[in-house]
């Protein structure tokens, strides 16, 4: 007897050791994961947060009547076509009267973002009293100045490696010393689409593009996938043909997404002649990609409904469809919705298939409908990343932050839906 106890004790310590070892390895694995998560989040946030502010320069703007309204008729059309660039450059020239060389003036004039011309025009249109008067205004600086402003260490590197030359830097410092330089909220980032000028580029265009695209995806994939899942799981006869379909759906979920893009290019664009770069086509392509995910989620959650509920309904004389519709489907809805939201967040983060159907184009207009040319968030990030200008670096990171925010929101929604609507039986 004692002999057996000894043996058990011996083996026990061995078993406990292996358990400890496994726990330790698991802990190391989790720690690594968290570490990398922190690193990636830190690098994104540290790079991206500066994109939410931009540099403004204060100038004394003189709304010269000779430029804005030569004929003095206050005709709106005249004002619209007035040379507001000249107004801005004049005030810059007044700020630095010592700058006289043509080449130097050109450099100075690039301090202010070209988007301010339109803003000044709107200002004058809304308040024609301004014509002939002067006003202190904060104007959006161009991206180069913004970069210098955000990265003070750049002032110290040698001229040849710097974005701006010594002369420009001295102007910048003058603005700074005079208190005519400040950071403001980057409105353009949330109100504009893409642009060649970093300070004028924003995510609104691609956010709306993503929204329209995902809406199409949801409208197409959710009903079809749920119906297909219910049919295959509950109503279809189990035979070789349905087995074959099942295997193929599972395989489809593993197909690289770019293949769906090729399909979209070949069928939706070349055969059906739908508009290129449009959310409607993007949505259709992503719907194809999302279908298997939702079908699999639907079937899994239908399977998870206990058979006793089905028996209860069938025993009462409910038809198969009533059983599914009244009992099984409502009970599996949380699981189906969770699967759908997960599928949608996959679709939100997808870029490869959309490249194939032209959603990678440079689009400055904010899309207003499903057929307008548009791009989506991940593609916008990719576009910014591949642009050379220094200002796009922080925009890229900020774009990732916006995308991550939406993904976290959607996943949070999935968790919420699951907890809120899950019924106990």
């Amino acid at each position: 007897m004692t002999n057996i106890t000894e043996k058990i004790k011996l083996s026990l310590s061995k078993r406990q050791r292996s358990e400890k070892r496994f726990k330790f390895l698991g802990f190391i694995g989790i720690s690594f994961a968290i570490l990398f998560l922190i690193i990636i989040l830190y690098s994104i946030f540290s790079q991206g947060q500066s994109a939410f502010k931009s540099t403004y320069i204060e100038l004394n703007i003189f709304f010269d009547e000779k430029i804005i309204d030569v004929e003095g008729k206050r005709d709106i059309e005249d004002i619209k076509f007035a040379n507001f660039r000249k107004i801005i450059t004049n005030s810059l020239d007044n700020y630095f009267p010592e700058v006289e060389k043509r080449e130097e003036k050109r450099k100075l004039h690039e301090f202010i973002s070209s988007s301010e011309e339109k803003n000044l025009m709107n200002l004058v249109l809304s308040n024609q009293e301004l014509i002939g008067k002067s006003k202190q205004l904060w104007l959006l600086a161009s991206s180069t100045i913004d970069v210098i402003h955000k990265n003070p260490e750049m002032e110290r590197i040698v001229e040849s490696d710097r974005l701006v030359d010594d002369l420009e830097l001295s102007w910048f410092k003058t603005f700074k010393e005079n208190g005519n330089l400040k950071f403001g909220f980057n409105k353009n980032f949330f109100s504009k689409a893409d642009s060649t000028e970093p300070e004028q580029a924003g995510v609104l265009g691609s956010m709306l593009g993503s929204f329209f695209t995902l809406l199409i995806t949801l409208i197409l994939s959710f009903p079809i996938a749920v119906a297909a899942g219910v049919f295959l799981e509950e109503l279809a006869p189990k035979n070789r043909f349905t087995d074959f379909i099942e295997v193929n759906i599972n395989n489809l979920a593993a197909v690289p997404s770019i293949i769906f893009g090729l399909l979209g290019l070949a069928i939706f664009l070349n055969v059906m002649h739908l508009p290129r770069s449009a959310p409607i086509v993007g949505g259709m392509v992503l719907a194809l990609m999302t279908l298997p995910t939702i079908i699999i989620a639907t079937r899994a959650s239908l399977k998870a409904v206990p058979p006793s509920i089905r028996e209860a309904a069938i025993g009462l004389g409910a038809t198969k469809f009533q059983t599914v519709n009244h009992h099984v489907l409502p009970l599996s809805m949380p699981g189906i919705l969770t699967g759908t939201i997960i599928g949608m967040s996959q679709a939100l983060g997808e870029s490869a298939p959309l490249l194939m159907i032209g959603m990678v184009a440079f689009i400055v207009d904010i899309p207003g409908s499903f057929t307008d040319s548009a791009t989506v968030l991940p593609v916008q990030i990719y576009l910014w990343k591949s642009t050379a200008a220094r200002g796009f670096l922080e925009l890229t990171a900020a774009g990732v932050m916006v995308l991550l925010t939406f993904l976290i929101l959607m996943n949070g929604l999935a968790v919420f839906v699951r907890q809120k609507f899950e019924k106990k039986w």
């Binding site: 028996e311 009462l316 106990k424």
Partner: protein, 258 residues
């Protein structure tokens, strides 16, 4: 064929055989079930008693690999006739399962579901009355009358099972099938259900599958003993338990097999 009572015969099975794939679960069962009496089906696990019960409302149809041969007559109508709709059949034959399985809905909705889908009631008032009446018949009304909107799953096991009985009788079936209705319940809840079965037998034909021989002896007037897919013996309950004709029956009720 054995006839045990002078009552009308409600259900008559003729040479019912059931196969699950290649396995024969029931072998040519001939059994008559009297009207408005309680018939219990007893036997060791896997003897086919539940399978037989599920033949009576064609629940076995829902199992893909299941194949059934033979005929079952209810009121002289063959329920395995080709053009008979099993949905209609199941509306006339109620069933109570081993594990209480109320829908995850309110107590009221649980009972109201059957009448609703079959379009039995014409008005809200009629439905309310029917639900109340069914709960009363199932001996549950007094316990739940103040909380009809609470989920059925919030009740205790015994109450849930009575809710399932109320749900079954709400569509006024002719026959109630019970598949070990007390196996998941404690002795007190079991006693309540057994009393209820006695009460229900006044209006319904009841077939009950049970593991407990004492229960069979207490609630039923007729008992059928199944063993390995065969119907060994059927007769008046007191006769089966006091002087079984077959040696296997005797072995089972004395505890030698099973």
């Amino acid at each position: 064929m054995v006839t045990v009572t002078s009552n009308n015969i409600k259900i008559k099975s003729k040479k019912i055989s059931v196969f699950y794939g290649d396995k024969k679960a029931l072998d040519s069962i001939n059994l008559e079930i009297p009207e408005k009496k309680v018939t219990s089906l007893i036997g060791p696990s896997g003897c086919g008693k539940s399978t037989f019960l599920r033949c009576l409302n064609r629940m076995n149809d829902t199992i893909d690999i299941c194949r059934i041969e033979g005929e079952i007559f209810i009121d002289d109508k063959n329920i395995y006739e080709k053009n008979l709709d099993p949905v209609l059949l199941r509306a006339r034959i109620g069933m109570v399962f081993q594990k209480p399985n109320p829908f995850p809905k309110s107590i009221f909705d649980n009972v109201a579901y059957g009448p609703k889908i079959h379009g039995i009631v014409n008005s809200e008032d009629e439905l309310n009355d029917l639900v109340k009446d069914s709960l009363k018949k199932a001996g549950l009304y007094n316990e739940v009358k103040d909380r009809l909107n609470e989920p059925g799953t919030s009740l205790s096991g015994g109450q849930q099972q009575r809710l399932c009985i109320a749900r079954a009788i709400a569509v006024s079936p002719e026959v109630i099938l019970m598949d070990e209705p007390c196996s998941a319940l404690d002795p007190i809840a079991t006693a309540v259900i057994e009393e209820l079965i006695d009460e229900l037998a006044k209006n319904f034909t009841i077939v009950i599958v049970t593991h407990s021989m004492q229960q069979a002896a207490r609630v039923s007037q007729q008992t059928a003993f199944f063993h390995m897919g065969n119907l060994i013996e059927v007769g008046k309950t007191e006769e089966i338990f006091s002087m079984p004709k077959q040696i296997k029956t005797q072995d089972y009720i004395t505890g030698k097999i099973g």
